[in-house]
């Protein structure tokens, strides 16, 4: 069975139509199936439809995703209450411990992302992994920082990533590897992304899962949840009966 590859983190301004189109075309050329461009807060329906149409034109499946950088637990819960049902993927950028713990505990969070440039702001430890393992939240790793950093910062990042990936695997927390690309030159073929994942300790199968099975599972799960037929996990409306 062939894998459907996903890059859920293409960092481009959707208002910049030309740049967006370039990245979308490139993703299609490289062999991806799902792509996502993170949106901030509430995008207009028109923006979403435009992005979906652009992706459809080149045979890609667009996944709506929102990234949020909360400063407190309250801000996080307020945001989730407001936006969870509007997007297929919700990613929380954690840069303090309280927020990261709360995000890992909350079942509405799909992806946990940490700052790549400051290793002190990476809070994915055993406690975090234990919380995340109970809620299906996944750890997102962007490869762009590995491409742009050099010397000691890259060494520190690789050390952190290797430790986090080992912890995530120990607690069965899914890992999602994304490009985080802002330009075409930072985009890589799915197989090359898997090769980069080798740098932080993922074997070939785990790396392939991180760019296909894991993100696909998140997308499918949330798409099912967003349909009107969904009642609760494992419970869906199959057929509606008549009142007698």
């Amino acid at each position: 069975m062939t894998r459907a590859f996903a890059d859920l983190h293409l960092l481009v301004n959707p208002k910049d139509e030309q740049a967006t189109k370039k990245l979308i075309n490139k993703a299609a050329k490289l062999g991806y199936h799902y792509i996502s461009i993170p949106l901030v807060s509430a995008p207009s329906q028109e923006d979403l439809t435009k992005l979906e149409a652009m992706c459809k034109q080149v045979g890609l499946d667009f996944v709506s995703r929102v990234d949020f950088h909360p400063r407190s637990e309250n801000e996080l819960t307020r945001f989730l209450r407001r936006f969870r049902r509007k997007f297929e993927v919700v990613c929380i950028l954690c840069d303090n411990k309280e927020v990261s713990r709360q995000a890992a505990k909350d079942k509405r969070v799909d992806l946990l992302s940490f700052c790549s440039f400051d290793f002190r702001k990476r809070f994915f430890d055993r406690a975090q992994a234990e919380l995340a393992s109970k809620t299906l939240a996944a750890l997102e790793v962007d490869v762009k920082p590995l491409l742009i950093l050099e010397g000691p910062p890259r060494v520190r990042l690789l050390t952190s990533l290797r430790r986090e990936v080992a912890v995530a695997q120990e607690f069965h927390v899914p890992i999602v590897v994304s490009s985080g690309a802002t330009e075409e030159r930072f985009m890589r073929m799915p197989k090359d992304m898997a090769s980069l994942a080798y740098l932080f300790g993922l074997n070939e199968t785990a790396a392939s899962d991180a760019i296909s099975t894991n993100p696909e599972a998140i997308v499918k799960r949330n798409r099912e949840k967003l349909t009107s037929r969904f009642v609760a996990p494992g419970v869906t409306v199959v057929k509606e009966g008549k009142n007698t």
Partner: protein, 107 residues
């Protein structure tokens, strides 16, 4: 003496300009050295077999034991001769004959 097993990689270079074979292999060596150091780079046995400047296609040879390290190093290339670039691995084969047999499919 044990025979060294090798692998041949077909690579696609994406670059704004047309780099020469020398510029391309220098970028490869720089990338491997940066990631794995000089000792690590020396173990790869990296050799440029063929380079098509116009089509920006390359074939390199590498020892099997360092294949994964080389693939990771290739993926980290972001510039060739000072210009923005990316290198993608199109195919890997145990023999040049098999690699070129797939030429039509790959290229």
């Amino acid at each position: 003496m044990k025979r060294i097993k090798r692998r041949y990689l077909a690579l696609k270079v994406e670059c704004e300009t047309f780099p020469t074979d020398r510029e391309f292999i220098d970028a490869m060596w720089a990338s491997v050295t940066k990631l794995y150091g000089e000792v690590g780079a020396s173990l790869t046995g990296l050799t440029l077999i063929d380079f098509d400047v116009e089509r920006k296609l390359a074939v390199v040879r590498v020892s099997l034991v360092t294949l994964n390290t080389l693939k990771a190093s290739i993926a980290t290339i972001t510039s060739i001769a000072g210009k923005g670039a990316a290198v993608h691995v199109l195919a890997i084969s145990g023999t040049l004959k098999a690699l070129y047999a797939n030429k039509k499919r790959i290229f």
